[in-house]
Every structure is written in C-alpha cells, then in structure tokens.
Amino acid sequence: MSESATKTDAKGYWSATLKLTTVLLFIWFACSYGAGIVFRDFLDQFSIGGAPLGFWFAQQGAIYFFVALVFYYCWAMKRLEKKYGVETQ
C-alpha cells in the first residue's frame, strides 16, 4: 500500500495530530462547558443582541463553535498529511 511513499513520517504525523487534537479539544471544552456552564453567570453580564452571553453560548454559540472546530480540524489535518507525506487518496 504505502511502501512506495518513502518520505512518510508516521511518528511526526502522529505527534502533530495529537498536538492539534489537544488544542482543539481545549477550545471545545472552553466554548461549551466553560462559557455555557461554568463561567455562565460571569458571562451573563454581557449580552449578544438581546440574549445574556453565557445563556447564548449554551443554546447557540457552542454549536457554532463545534461546527467551526470540525471544519478547521479537517483543513489542518489535510495540511499535516501533506507535510508528513502521508498518503491520501
């Protein structure tokens, strides 16, 4: 399958993947559990339109962040795959 791809750096690819995953999961945690639950009361003193910010994160904002995170992940992984010579079809 990938014997021909001599430049594949599987180790480098995996450690870069882990790093990216950790950062994205941190944001995932911050925008939902952080903004929507733990720091909600604090954020509620600000508002977005007519909604308290913490409440908005819990019912809307977190979901938009989730979507953005997954698409960013796809884009970043494509770049990693190119960089480390990982075979993609």
Binding site: M1, A10, L24, L25, A58, Y73, C74, M77
Partner: protein
C-alpha cells in the same frame, strides 16, 4: 383539502419515495449491506448521519422540552451536538482506517478476544433496543394522532416500510433513504419556525429572532419571556433549578454517549477513507446544527406565544367556536385560540377550570396570586401546533407529520442496522460460525434485519403500555458513554491497552451505570441519595471515568498486548497505512474501500 387529507398526501408521497429508493439501491454483498460498499459521498453521508441521529424526540419533543426547561434545556443542545466533535477528532477517522464493519468488530479484533466482542455486542444491542422502542412508539403516535389510524396499525405500517428498505437494501438502502428523510424533516422543521419567528420578532431567521426584540417594541424577546413567566410564578427562562455540576455531568454524558453510540459510529464506516470520515462528521454536524440552533428559538417563541395567548383566555366549550369567539371578542375578552381547541381532542393540551371562573390560568409553582395551574401541555404540542399558531395553511401540518415520521423511521432504520449486524456479523460470522461464506452471511443478515424489525415493532406495541420510554433513553446514552466510549478511545490512543483492561472497563461501565440508573428510575431511589448530586441522566459521565481508571489499572497489571495488535494500532493512526496483522486480522481481512 383539509389537514388530514394533506397529511395523507405527504405521508403517502414520502413513503412511496422511500420504497422507490429501497428498490433502486438493493444490496448485492455483505460489503454493500453493512457499510454501503464503503463508497458513500461524504456530504450525503453527513445528511444520512443527521437523519439517523435526529429522532422522533429531537424533531417533536426537543423544542417543547427546552420551552419548559429554559436554560436547563441547554444540556440537550450542547450534549447532542458536541459529541460530533469527539467523533470527528477521536474516533471516526481511525475506525474508518481500521476498515471493518461494526463496533464489536473493532473491539473484538483490537482486544483479540471473543469475550470482549460478545460484551460489545451486548452493549450495542442493549443501547439500540432501548432507543428503538421510542422510535416505534413515535411512529405509532404520529399515525394515531394525525391520520386517524389506530396506534397498533400505525406501527405495523411503519414496520412494513422499514422492512422494505432495511432488509432489501441494508446500509446502502438505509443511507439513501435517510438522505431523502433528512430533506423532508429539515424542510418540515424550518418552514413553520421561520413563520413563527416572523410573528413574534419580525425576523425571518429564527436564530436571529432568538436574540432579537419583540415585534414592534424595543424589549428583547428573552427579557420579555423572563418577565412574563416569572410574573406567573415560574423560574426565569434563562435560569435552571439544576446544580451547575449536574448540568455539567448531563451535558458530558450526552456528548460522550453520542460519540459512543454504535448507530452513529457505523455511519462513518460507509465513506471512502479517513479524510472523508472527518469531513463527513463536519457535514453531519452542520446538518444537525441547522435543527439544533432552530429548536431553542422555536421553544422560546412557543413558550411566549403560549402564555400570551392562552393565559386568562376565556374558555369556549361551545361546538360553534367561531360564533362563541366573536361574542367573547365583542365583550372585550380574549377567546381561547383555535389551535388549542383543535389539539384538545388529542389530549396533548388540556384545561381544567379549578376556580370555576371560566378563564384559563397558567401558573407556576410560586404563583404570586396563589392560583392553581389549570392548563396542561405536552412537550410535543409546540412543534405540532406551530403551523396553526403561525396561521399557516393546512398542507404545512401535513408536512410536519411527514417530517416527524421521517425522523422516527430514519433513526429506527439506523438502529436496526446495528442490531442485525451485531447478530449476523459479530455473533454468527465472527464468533460462532467462523467459516460462513459471504452469500450465507448476507442471507443471515437479511433474516436478522427482518427479525429485528419484528422485535422493534413488538417493543413499540409494548412501549405504549409502559410509560418509561423517555426515561430509558438515559440508559442508552449513559451506557454508551461508560461502556463503549472508553475502550474505543483507549484502543486508538493507548497502544498498551490490552484485553484484560478492556473487558474490565466495559463491565465496570456497564454494571455501574445500569445499576445506578435502574435503582433511581425503577428501584425507588430518591434524589438525596444521588452520588455527588448527579442525576441518573448524567451518571454515565462519572462512571466513564471509573471505567477508564479501572481499565488502565487492570491493563498495567497484566501483560502488554501482542506485537501484532500494537502494530495494528500504529497503522490505524495514519491514513493509507493499514496492513494485515496476524492475530488482529486472522478472522477477517480489512477492507480497502479506496
């Protein structure tokens, strides 16, 4: 044409469409049957995943649930979407690279153990059966409530339709029907939402109306709602009675449960490669977010509208609604809205004049005037009555009925796939009769799909007598979070994880979560006894950590897994790198979809 006729037309047309797709996409091999030939377009797979995911409960009940729970409803919104981030980042691409058919396939091969495989089968079956009972019940309710067909016959019709495309087409048939079902359900959900948003806030986009102002005023919609309901003795909409820690745990249990649900995971086996699995999870999340960001808006609008139009309205028991309403209006009163009268017959809304003043009082538990609440409303009413509240034509109601059925049937079909593949593939082919040919397996798969449809139907009939369907859903998520998620995750990210650890982790998660939920839901436990104040809905998250801890502890005390297994783990981490590895793949070779 009247509403019922329109409902028949929409349901008839959509069902014909589903059957047409089933005939067009018949499965020719086990590869087709289990994973749609590993060749589904990522966007279409995203749609299918969204339909698979959004059940009758998401479509009919969630907006109403949020309307009643206010901020407390956020657990469902974040919980049922955030799991897709975990899926995309931690599971889907790696499981796709692993290249087999089912979740127990992965567990059994990665942990080189038939016992682990069978435990995974038990988890998958348990989770899927609890979930499917609710779907079949939803189908029965939709038929009996809108089409005037008896509950039992409604379930039979639903079974016949699912039988057609699940048994004939397997995953391939299910995938393309789900794509059609997604289109039906999202259209049916958003059209009434747009109109109700226009009525309340004058903004056609519900997500913007949600943070906007009440039409013709400069008061924000949420402030108004907070004030209106707290005046009646309810908790403010933007607050909750649940503790912060409990909200945290419930959200997390739903998220990790989502990521561990077999019928969601198997959808990512159907695409071409790990890259496609990643992007497909992204599309799935977009398609899900479309409904999940609309639902809180619908919930808030509906609650506001419900209180404003029904509270202190004059009840009309007269046969001739029009005439009586005109009289009430002429006397300067507020007549009960027409939609309330229409839905009263179904029992989803009800009025009892406790103080005999002829007016309908809506009151919360802390009502300042001390009056009792006289109006009952079921969660489902808000989505169902939306078209009428928004004064939309009769055909829109038909559309909502078809949408609700699409949501229930698509989820039921995805679950049936898990059940039938667990029996035919994991139990028969991989555990009991290892030399089974592909043709025989396909036949067994069809037979077990048929059996699963039958079992699900019976469960649906039985569920009508048992009121606990909504509660058992806590089982499905809790068990998926505590038993399946930890071992799949460790199986990918920790090479050292071995058979002993995996079995210990699965059993710990299964037994502790099952015991806890059973005790508090059916065994008479009271809220004061909750562990760390965590409700049964959120306990899966706590026991997930327990399972992770036990699994890691046991693994460290027992020998490392064989080299073949460690090589396999290295392979699935890097796309396009999958090789055949001795004992890991001795039962079945990985399938290269590309």
């Amino acid at each position: 044409m009247d509403q019922t006729t329109w409902s028949y037309v929409f349901v008839g047309v959509t069902f014909a469409l589903y059957i047409g797709i089933a005939i067009w996409s018949r499965a020719g091999s086990t590869d087709d049957f289990y994973v749609a030939g590993h060749d589904v377009n990522p966007v279409l797979n995203g749609m299918a995943t969204a339909a698979d995911w959004m059940s009758a409960a998401s479509f009919l009940s969630m907006a109403g649930l949020i309307a009643f729970l206010g901020y407390g409803g956020s657990v469902y919104l974040m919980g049922w979407t955030g799991g897709y981030v975990l899926l995309a980042l931690l599971l889907a691409p790696f499981l796709r690279e692993f290249g087999k058919f089912t979740v127990p396939d992965f567990v059994g091969d990665r942990y080189y153990s038939s016992f682990a495989r069978v435990v995974a089968v038990v988890c998958a079956l348990f989770v899927s059966f609890t979930y499917i009972a609710g779907q079949m019940k939803g189908v029965g309710v939709a038929f009996s409530g809108f089409l005037g067909i008896e509950y039992e016959w409604g379930i039979v019709i639903g079974m016949v339709i699912v039988f057609f495309y699940a048994v004939l087409g397997g995953m391939k048939g299910i995938t393309y029907t789900q794509v059609a079902q997604y289109c039906v359900l999202i259209f049916a959900y958003t059209v009434p939402a747009i109109f109700i948003s226009l009525i309340i806030t004058d903004n056609p986009i519900p997500q913007l109306g949600f943070i906007g102002e009440v039409k013709g005023t400069d008061v924000s919609m949420l402030d108004k709602l907070n004030q209106v309901i707290s005046d009646l003795g309810f908790l403010e909409y933007t607050s909750t009675s649940k503790s912060m820690f409990d909200v945290f745990c419930i959200t997390a249990a739903l998220m990790f449960g989502t990521a561990g649900l077999p019928h969601v995971i198997i959808r990512f086996f159907t695409v071409r490669n790990p890259g496609a699995a990643r992007i497909s999870a992204g599309y799935a999340l977009v398609f899900i977010a479309l409904l999940y960001t609309t639902a809180p808006a619908v919930g808030a609008f509906a609650r506001l509208n419900f209180v404003e139009t029904v509270n202190e309205a004059t009840y009309i028991s007269d046969e001739n609604y029009e005439a009586a309403a005109t009289t009430v209006l002429a006397q300067g009163g507020k007549p009960v809205p027409q939609w309330f009268k229409n839905w009263e017959k179904t029992g989803l809304v009800g009025f009892e004049d406790k103080n005999s003043d002829g007016l309908m009082q809506i009151r919360g538990p802390a009502a300042p005037d001390g009056l009792a609440n006289e109006v009952d409303a079921n969660n489902d009413i808000f989505v169902l009555a939306n078209p009428e509240i928004a004064q939309l034509p009769g055909w829109v109601i038909g559309l909502v009925v078809a949408g609700g059925l699409a949501a229930a049937l698509s989820t039921a079909a995805g679950l049936l796939m898990v059940i039938s593949s667990a029996v035919s593939h994991d139990l028969c082919r991989r555990t009991l009769f290892k030399n089974m040919s592909d043709t025989t397996e396909l036949r067994v798969a069809r037979i077990s799909a048929a059996g699963a449809v039958l079992a699900a139907g019976l469960l649906g009939l039985y569920a009508s007598q048992l009121g606990f369907v909504a509660q058992v859903v806590a089982f499905a998520f809790g068990l998926a979070a505590a038993s399946l998620f930890p071992i799949i995750f460790l199986g990918i990210f920790w090479k050292r994880m071995n058979k002993e650890g995996a079995i210990a982790a699965m059993l710990t998660g299964l037994v502790s979560t099952f015991g806890y939920i059973y005790y508090f839901k059916f065994g008479g436990g009271s809220a004061e006894q909750w562990l760390f104040g965590v409700s049964p809905e959120g306990i899966g998250f706590v026991f997930m950590w327990l399972a992770l801890g036990v699994g890691i502890g046991v693994a460290l005390m027992t020998p490392a897994p064989p080299q073949d297994i460690q090589d396999l783990v290295e392979d699935i981490r890097v796309p396009g790198n999958r090789h055949d590895h001795g004992i890991a793949d001795s039962g079945m070779h990985p399938i290269d979809g590309s």
